[in-house]
């Protein structure tokens, strides 16, 4: 058991996975001596050498494209994209190559590539450094998408992801990098990678969140509890595919759901949650599924980001609207 930040938990998880499997490589911009701009790869190059922790040229398509080749050769590359807004130069390689290779090859070519992306706002950054592009990847068949919300999940999920034989986009909630918790670092993973977690049980309404918004949802549930409202909070963890049984069981019971995410809502993962729930639980729902999300604008200047991002108040407002419906 160790008390670590989420960033350090990722670092320890990566270290363990590199120790266990010599085929695991880490690659990206500044992942070597600097240890990544968030220090997630800190110390790895020193210990595993420049051939396994590769500082790459500054070109994201190149990072992913060469990772594809390395994976075909039998390696398990873990690629770091420095910030959410910089994954787009690699989008073509991700969508047309990484996502489709196993299908196109009739199952002959596996691409066990992990694409790590720090994402989301709340750290006062300049443009392109606060985005939540997860829906693009969720909409892409052939990819899987996961995200962690706390140090323990960070530690275990990164290892499970790297061990997975499919390409996985691993979103890291950058505003939670410095959150600390006790993490049990021995034994086996406490739960499978693809499972959603009931982060707080409750009966009146289900709050569905992931990554950086889990904390906001938990805070909202705690605040609501003081007013006698019993809110269940689900941390999705896996964004594609979503662990529907856990989500649906909860909403079937509570009859009400609010989905929270930083990303713009239009044609997004939160749309999917609402669409699915109304389809599968039409007769159980007592109120429409509501969404609390970023607005459908580009990410705004940081001085106004707190108004853009879902916060305790906006979540509680939606909870109230749902309960009153």
């Amino acid at each position: 058991m160790a008390t670590v930040t989420l960033a350090k938990a990722l670092n320890e998880g990566l270290r363990k996975t590199m120790e266990n499997d010599p085929k695991v490589l880490v690659m990206g911009e500044d992942v070597g001596a600097l240890g990544g701009v968030f220090r997630v790869t800190d110390g790895l190059q020193k210990d595993f050498g420049e051939d396994r922790v590769i500082d790459t040229p500054l070109a994201e398509s190149g990072i992913i494209g060469t990772a594809v080749g390395l994976a075909i050769r039998g390696f398990r590359p873990v690629c770091e994209i420095q910030f959410d807004g910089f994954v787009f130069p690699a989008f073509d390689q991700i969508v047309s190559q990484v996502a489709k290779m196993h299908y196109r090859s009739g199952g002959h070519v596996k691409l066990p590539i992990t694409i790590r992306i720090p994402y989301g706002g709340g750290i006062g950054a300049v443009e392109h450094h606060s985005e939540s592009p997860e829906s693009y990847f969720c909409h892409t068949p052939g990819l899987k998408v996961v995200t962690c919300s706390n140090p323990a999940d960070a530690y275990w999920m990164i290892q499970q992801t790297v061990a997975n034989d499919d390409p996985v986009v691993f979103f890291e909630p950058k505003r939670r990098y410095w959150d600390k918790a006790d993490v049990e670092m021995t034994g086996t993973a406490p739960m499978p990678l693809w499972k959603a977690r009931v982060a707080r049980p409750g009966n009146d309404l289900t709050l569905i969140a992931y990554g950086p918004m889990v904390k906001v949802a938990l805070d909202a549930a705690a605040a609501a509890a003081e007013e006698g409202k019993s809110i269940e909070v689900i941390d999705l963890r896996a964004l594609s595919p979503i662990d529907w049984p856990v989500v649906e069981d909860s909403v079937r019971r509570t009859g009400r759901a609010v989905v929270v995410a930083e990303a713009p809502s239009y044609a997004s993962l939160t749309s999917e949650v609402a669409a699915r729930l109304q389809e599968k639980l039409f007769y159980s729902l007592e109120a429409p599924v509501l969404r609390v999300t970023g607005y459908n604008t580009p990410f705004p200047p940081s001085r106004v980001e707190e108004d853009y991002l879902p916060d305790l108040d906006r979540v509680l407002d939606a909870v109230d609207r749902s309960l009153e419906a």
Binding site: D51, R52, T56, G62, V68, I72, D92, Q93, W244
Partner: protein, 372 residues
């Protein structure tokens, strides 16, 4: 105001010069080259001729099958046989090739049954072969992407102690893509055992070479710090010699080379294309005189190495290959509807399990007559 019209692209080389390695002239005359000597036995020469004829026959058959509606599309390599056979035969076991969609000839040299390639063009698969079996990767249609895959693969060779090299194929059009230039950066910076093999067939669908570059393409390499060489792409001996040397360089740890095989796309871009809209038949006629097979045939015949029997024998083998391809094509089975869900993921997906189940009972509904 600066004139939007760019200066004319460097003139097309038609004879061997300092800029074009050639060992066999269009007239079938054997030349020597100071840097690229090649000494082949008669059997090796016969084998190369045979390859050229086989590869052209694969192409003719693919084209015919498309015209007959058995394939939905075909990208013809006609005119590029020597480039592909020269490159393909330079590859040794342990060397890996990343093709575009036109390298049927390289596939043949790597021992891939041409029927294997047809699934994609017939629409029964998206490729579907095992790249490791023939050390020949899947066809890549998104222009340029494979050059990065190849470079990563070559970096893998560096890291796992392999002793092969890796070769990426691409076209003149592809040279404009960001990915291809990133591959140049990567291969150079990591000194990867790579050969970039550009078949400059002078057209990217309807766009002539000067829409992609204003200098000869092989010179691109010098901007990235590795050698580039232009070879007569219709001369199988020269291509073989130049590619062997580049692969050897790569295997030795001397890093990447760019080879520009200067050739010409004799046919349409694909069976869907109509080149009469954008190019002169006179150009095509001129290139017919440089035919890669004809010059080998003349050389073998004039030098007395081969006679009619040999040429007839090769024709017959080609007929057999064509029959094999045709039969193999017609035997390709259509995929089943439920196969749509196969192999999307190596480890499966709960979402797709659900969808497969839904489709399955929907299809069963038809059988039971519950749908119209």
């Amino acid at each position: 105001m600066p004139d939007p019209t760019p200066p004319a692209v460097t003139a097309t080389p038609t004879v061997a010069g300092p800029e074009l390695v050639q060992l066999l002239t269009p007239e079938g005359e054997r030349l020597e080259h100071p840097d690229y000597a090649i000494d082949l036995t008669d059997d090796e020469l016969f084998a190369l001729y045979r390859d050229l004829v086989m590869v052209r026959r694969i192409d003719t058959e693919g084209f015919a099958l498309t015209r007959q509606g058995e394939l939905s599309l075909w990208a013809s390599l006609q005119g590029q046989e020597a480039a592909q056979v020269g490159a393909g035969r330079a590859l040794k076991p342990g060397d890996y090739a990343f093709p575009t969609y036109r390298e049927h000839g390289v596939a043949y040299c790597k021992g891939v049954d041409p029927v294997t390639l047809l699934g994609l063009w017939r629409g029964v698969s998206q490729g579907g072969w095992d790249p490791h079996a023939g050390e020949f990767h899947l066809y890549t249609i998104v222009i340029g992407s494979q050059t990065l895959h190849a470079t990563g693969f070559a970096m893998g060779i560096q890291r796992d102690g392999g002793d092969g090299a890796c070769m990426a194929f691409f076209g003149d059009g592809a040279s404009s893509q960001g990915d291809v230039n990133e591959a140049f950066v990567w291969a150079s910076v990591f000194n990867a055992p790579m050969v970039f093999f550009c078949q400059n067939n002078q057209w990217a669908i309807s766009e002539p070479l000067e829409r992609q570059t204003r200098i000869p393409l092989y010179q691109r390499a010098q901007g990235f710090g590795f050698p580039g060489v232009r070879v007569d792409g219709n001369d199988v001996l020269a291509v073989l010699a130049v590619t062997r040397a580049a692969l050897e360089r790569a295997r030795e740890g001397s890093g990447p080379t760019l080879i520009e095989a200067f050739t010409y796309r004799m046919g349409p871009h694909t069976t869907s294309d109509d080149p009469t809209r954008y190019r002169l038949s006179a150009d095509v006629e001129a290139w017919k005189l440089k035919d890669p097979i004809e010059r080998m045939k003349v050389y073998l015949a004039r030098s007395g190495k081969a006679d009619h029997d040999f040429f007839d024998q090769v024709e017959k083998e080609a007929d057999d290959l064509a029959a094999h391809i045709r039969a193999g094509c017609l035997a390709l089975e259509d995929p089943t509807p439920l196969s749509i869900f196969d192999n999307v993921y190596a480890e499966g997906s709960s979402l797709l399990d659900e969808e497969r189940e839904l489709m399955s009972s929907y299809l069963a509904g038809f059988a039971e007559g519950s749908h119209r």
